[in-house]
Symmetry: D2
Subunit: 463 residues, 4 copies
Amino acid sequence: MEYIGSQVKDINIAYIGGGSKGWAWALMGDLAMEGDLSGTVKLYDLNYEAAQVNSMIGNNLSRRDDVKGKWHYEAVPSLEKALTGADFVIISILPGTFKEMAYDVNLPQEYGIYQSVGDTTGPGGIVRALRTIPMYVEMAEAIKAYCPGTWVINYTNPMTLCTRTLTKIFPEIKAMGCCHEIFGAQQLLASMLKDLKGMEDVSYRDISVNVLGINHFTWIDEASYQGTDLMPVYREFAERYYETGYEEKPGQWMDSFFSSACRVQFDLFRKYGLIAASGDRHLAEFMPRNWYLKDPETVKSWKFSLTPIDFRMKRQEELVQKSKRLAAGEESVQLKPSGEEGIRMIKALLGLGDFVTNVNVPNQGQIKGLPTGSVVETNALLVRDGVKPVLAGQLPIDVENLVARHVLNQETVLQAALNKDKSLAFRAFLSDPLVSSIDTGAAEQLFERMLEMTKAYLPGWDL
Amino acid sequence: MEYIGSQVKDINIAYIGGGSKGWAWALMGDLAMEGDLSGTVKLYDLNYEAAQVNSMIGNNLSRRDDVKGKWHYEAVPSLEKALTGADFVIISILPGTFKEMAYDVNLPQEYGIYQSVGDTTGPGGIVRALRTIPMYVEMAEAIKAYCPGTWVINYTNPMTLCTRTLTKIFPEIKAMGCCHEIFGAQQLLASMLKDLKGMEDVSYRDISVNVLGINHFTWIDEASYQGTDLMPVYREFAERYYETGYEEKPGQWMDSFFSSACRVQFDLFRKYGLIAASGDRHLAEFMPRNWYLKDPETVKSWKFSLTPIDFRMKRQEELVQKSKRLAAGEESVQLKPSGEEGIRMIKALLGLGDFVTNVNVPNQGQIKGLPTGSVVETNALLVRDGVKPVLAGQLPIDVENLVARHVLNQETVLQAALNKDKSLAFRAFLSDPLVSSIDTGAAEQLFERMLEMTKAYLPGWDL
Amino acid sequence: MEYIGSQVKDINIAYIGGGSKGWAWALMGDLAMEGDLSGTVKLYDLNYEAAQVNSMIGNNLSRRDDVKGKWHYEAVPSLEKALTGADFVIISILPGTFKEMAYDVNLPQEYGIYQSVGDTTGPGGIVRALRTIPMYVEMAEAIKAYCPGTWVINYTNPMTLCTRTLTKIFPEIKAMGCCHEIFGAQQLLASMLKDLKGMEDVSYRDISVNVLGINHFTWIDEASYQGTDLMPVYREFAERYYETGYEEKPGQWMDSFFSSACRVQFDLFRKYGLIAASGDRHLAEFMPRNWYLKDPETVKSWKFSLTPIDFRMKRQEELVQKSKRLAAGEESVQLKPSGEEGIRMIKALLGLGDFVTNVNVPNQGQIKGLPTGSVVETNALLVRDGVKPVLAGQLPIDVENLVARHVLNQETVLQAALNKDKSLAFRAFLSDPLVSSIDTGAAEQLFERMLEMTKAYLPGWDL
Amino acid sequence: MEYIGSQVKDINIAYIGGGSKGWAWALMGDLAMEGDLSGTVKLYDLNYEAAQVNSMIGNNLSRRDDVKGKWHYEAVPSLEKALTGADFVIISILPGTFKEMAYDVNLPQEYGIYQSVGDTTGPGGIVRALRTIPMYVEMAEAIKAYCPGTWVINYTNPMTLCTRTLTKIFPEIKAMGCCHEIFGAQQLLASMLKDLKGMEDVSYRDISVNVLGINHFTWIDEASYQGTDLMPVYREFAERYYETGYEEKPGQWMDSFFSSACRVQFDLFRKYGLIAASGDRHLAEFMPRNWYLKDPETVKSWKFSLTPIDFRMKRQEELVQKSKRLAAGEESVQLKPSGEEGIRMIKALLGLGDFVTNVNVPNQGQIKGLPTGSVVETNALLVRDGVKPVLAGQLPIDVENLVARHVLNQETVLQAALNKDKSLAFRAFLSDPLVSSIDTGAAEQLFERMLEMTKAYLPGWDL
């Protein structure tokens, strides 16, 4: 790296999962729009070909005149090649394929367990974690070997357990997990100000929030804008739209598998008095099965969707086609901010501007009441070569109990995965709120069937 | 008090709940058999007449020649009179009457929630706690006012929340909760040695155990006898009797509402690898509803009983009759050890012999992983004027999650009771594993009905 | 208060010590230059007349056309009047008079103990604390009574113990201590960049630092500017100027009792590898007596001064004269930034812009290794109605030992002052590094004499 | 090992330092008097010949008819041979020789630093630690390799740092440090009861004490005997003998370099209100130099001695001669209890009787206020395969500060030794209360000279 005033060139970024569609292009776009940084992105993917295609897409982009940030993209055939010399590591992978994800989501339905996402918690999230942790063990060891002092930014789900695996295996690692769900909550608050107060053009970045919890189950206990306490405003908002739900574009939740009308968020606020800062699809999965996910009708009544995996598969296929067109120059990457803060984070870590944002890192006291070492989500101050969590306080005791249950269960999953301990993994499975109300015999059968379908990713397990 | 060598006379004991049947007589018997201590027991009870009857019973006992420990019993009409000048305070009350307890146990059955005891956790335990906490607030304040430096021994259930209320309201209090369930587990281990190894005459007191958890949900992770590790022996034992259950007198569980065949204990051992050190009736209530308490048939298949409250009422009536005969001298208290360690504890606190036993006191680090300040159960060293917990270590992560969930929920109940916060109380109710799988609407209705039936004990609540 | 966009009017500030010279005028100047805020400042002082004079000075200022921030100043005769209705409380008092301070500094010299300041640590700092704590107990109780939810900003020394007393007496208080010494360290780093790298116009606010320690004994373990790690630059700087010292205007330390040539800072860096972020006069007092304060010659060799109290008295007298001229309108307050960040902090607490700066608040984990609850100095994120410390990490073990010794000794002083425990106070005195190497008999005599001279401020002590 | 009822045979003990005089024979005597245990002791020593001589002595002993515990003694040539198959490891070595110890004690005297022992703290203790830690690193690694689950009992000084090194290098080690100083304090209390109260035949084992601190700087805050609080009795005792000192045999301190008249203990009690539970020779070294060790006259006035190393050398020479006679059968080991509790500890760890005694193990919360992980001394419950510290509470803040300073300095020494960091080692040296009051230049010279004399034991250091 070389600093020239407030510009840095010759930066080396290792992108693990660099053959991805969507995410990779979003990063390329963000890099292209940032004039202060330049260098090389090494794309590593189990699917080397996909990484090569993306390198073409990236280099096509860099050739464009309207691009300020010029980067060279290069597909590499090994983790070692990607990591050696890296100034930053970005990890955004799909653990396994959508085929495994289909089993994660569909098999539980046979037992009455419906999951709206299936990538974070619940039976799907747990089995996905079992599959993913060995991959992150490998990455942690590789980072320790090839670039131990390098900052690592993780985007993969299950966010908490991916980040936790890195820090467990290599405690000195400089790693954080990043997620945009909080921005979504801030955007909702901005939208609320428009809706209730007629305030236009409030940027979500100017909404100050205190966040505490774990990824996709994070809570906001303080929110303000220009001196105004937004908590009572949100109370009014949640009550007004409790029954109908709220959407910027009404009805969108019916058209998109990724949208919702915030009814779950409003219900959680009514019950607990805090803003649950994630989309309804994620939130619902952390609560007892009969609350929001009892059956498809219940889900519909809460105005969100069970994202079907065949939809994901179809979309993926379309993106593969698109990637070919982008690589061939038949189509062009659209330059618009992705909504992620990865680039701004990299700039802060380079020392080009301290700022405060939410991150997922091990608890060192930033949340009182949750175990030390577990990965939690709060605000942090990002500085040159440092991520310093801001003390976020403590959740109210009832909400702490909801969150702690998942924190401890995630730690149980981690331990089971590291020790390849099927019995412990099953106990974690059984403790999940989506599972614990079904018959234990049925739960055991489901667990066996799910493991069977993902066993290719469980090397060394005694299955 | 006056010390004469290893004897102490003129001890003042305040007995709160001193009109009780059974418990009071057991204490009288234990005191009568202990030759080193003597003094006065002041019996205080909301039912003053019952205290008076007990004073007669006690004084009758003291007049007997076969009694070594001579005590004077005196009914007193107020907490102030009982506590002023007390060297020890013993609390053993029934919070409310069996009428309220009947609602605690019977109303939930209408919603499919069966409780084998109903005094510790579950909907019954929670509502009982809401009713009991104000009484313990009053006691804590009275102790602070009248005998702030005196040791307080609590026997009332819900043990954890009773003891916790005392320490919350008056943090400098010298209080502990005592329970004999661990002795039962030690007795089972002694019985096991006889059954499996042919070892006769093993005293349960010589079984060394490490206990950690919360009252009625305590776990043993180490057990030994004369150098032998009992954990593998117990594994063999649990497997051998997994299906049939184990009882010293086979079939007893069918004859007694208080017995069980240890099948729940064996099942928990099989799952978690630790000995759950309480009776099956208590253990079952801490686990998800569908595990052991799904319906009466399930309960029966696990070989324990749902203790009916009308049975308790009938037994109480018999004891009232017996108390009259005892007071009138028509019948005599039988001298046999109660199995409680209260007297030995008092002797240790007097400096007449340090010893190690299990107690319920606030967590100051004796259990790693559970919150500081919450009341937990572990071994402690009892010395002159001191109870010093022994570091018990940490539960395995999966068991810790089971226990922590109840610890946090109990703290929630405490906070709700102290703040008379019905909404928070309901959230605690809803978080209980016996409740969380029923419909939230049904749960709310049940909660309302239960509160209604106990509202006489909830002064100041906005119901 | 009323918000109009990003402006707030009708703010009420209670200024305790509002008769002060210098500090009060600096605040007035800062308020006058800030256009977004307006309201009333209530000046409370034991010297009511001085507060009245200051109210005239303040109101004179508000009448000027070049003043953007219009405030009304009003002297009030009681704490109650000052605090009732206050939106912010600022405390900046002189505990006692310079007469007592003279004894604090001069008596120890008779025993070979030289102090360069005498207001923070050492025999002078300890006796000053004993004198000041009762005043802060009174203030804490008044704040609890009259404005419990109001933010309190303390500027008085001993900073740590003043702030600690507030939080000890009224744990829910919203209080922080503010000090500009860190800005001095940042300015030195800016000056260093000019001197070594020829970089002009570097603002100290753009120097990013991680601070951890206690007031006047704070350490910087990370410093950067625009991506450049300043620690190796400072190493070069400290070595280059180790012998000669460094000053922007060479020789200034000889002309000013408040300046130094940073030789102590350089020596501490050489020894410990961290930047001691305070002036040499303060730093020297925290170390063993024979290091920097052995005798006046040693002090001179390190190129700083023992600030004489008669100089302070004379300066005070001049300020009194000046205050009369200012009140009479014969002279005018000069509008220039004071270098304090109080106004910016108030704006942040009002929700008009989050920012990160160093504060003194109880340790809630922001510094690992130091006791919870003790007041420490680190960065914090200031938000609407909140001060959220940033996790600063842990000091190296050897520096932690230096700091912890003072932290524990300050807690000892606090306990002694609250309990009016002379014996404990003496043990704290004896533990101070400036005292511990003199004869214990001599130390006792000195302590007695010092207490005698300040006994008017020790009500209830058994002296 | 084989258990036969309450007897255990075929026990394997590895004795590191097995060529020692005195200590080894004391252990042999204790083993010989204990009828329940038997097996093999493998003696390992850098001086193999000395181990061989001891094996002859031990085997001679086992052949005697009056010996109940029959053990086979065997000199082994390597750590590996000693440790492989060991059921217990006992470590009692002299780190280096008395030649190095002479420098540890004598060189500081040239700089006005007098040490009464020189093996625990002060310049001698620190340099001894630097020399010893590499040996303990080697032992920890060997234990990890050859007998990772075996209990290790350390007797070597510096006790704290020896034990700490074992736990630092191999955190899962089952290790504790044992020291008889607390028994000495209990014996003094028994002697006090005889002197003041005329109570004969009080056994020190029946004196119940709560101990907390670090080895040789441990404090008793509670002491009782048969219900009597001994703290006020000790107050009377300390006052009565404050000036004259107290000895069972008056004048003994003048005849023995290892005795004292408890004047330091009494003085510390007068100042701090707690019983410092170690001999005066040790206690004096932890306090500022000018308190008790200012010069030989001061030492004499406090009625204890500076133990001369040439005396130790002469005694050692006599023991060597004695060892030859013992091995040759010309003289016989005298059977009397050593006063150590090692055998009783081993029995407890074998499961032959739980008991409570003081041990040195890492702080896991047994002392509040001191760092987690540092080795501290408190009571612990010894059980089968377990040492469970008893929660000892917290030291008063002023005493905590005295102790914490040494705890942190010992951690600094450990870090310096492990990293072979001379500069850090010097900072630790400089922070010691015996050193901190001398000139830093002189301290540096002394440190250099001391290191020079021990450099043979500092492999890999850059000296």
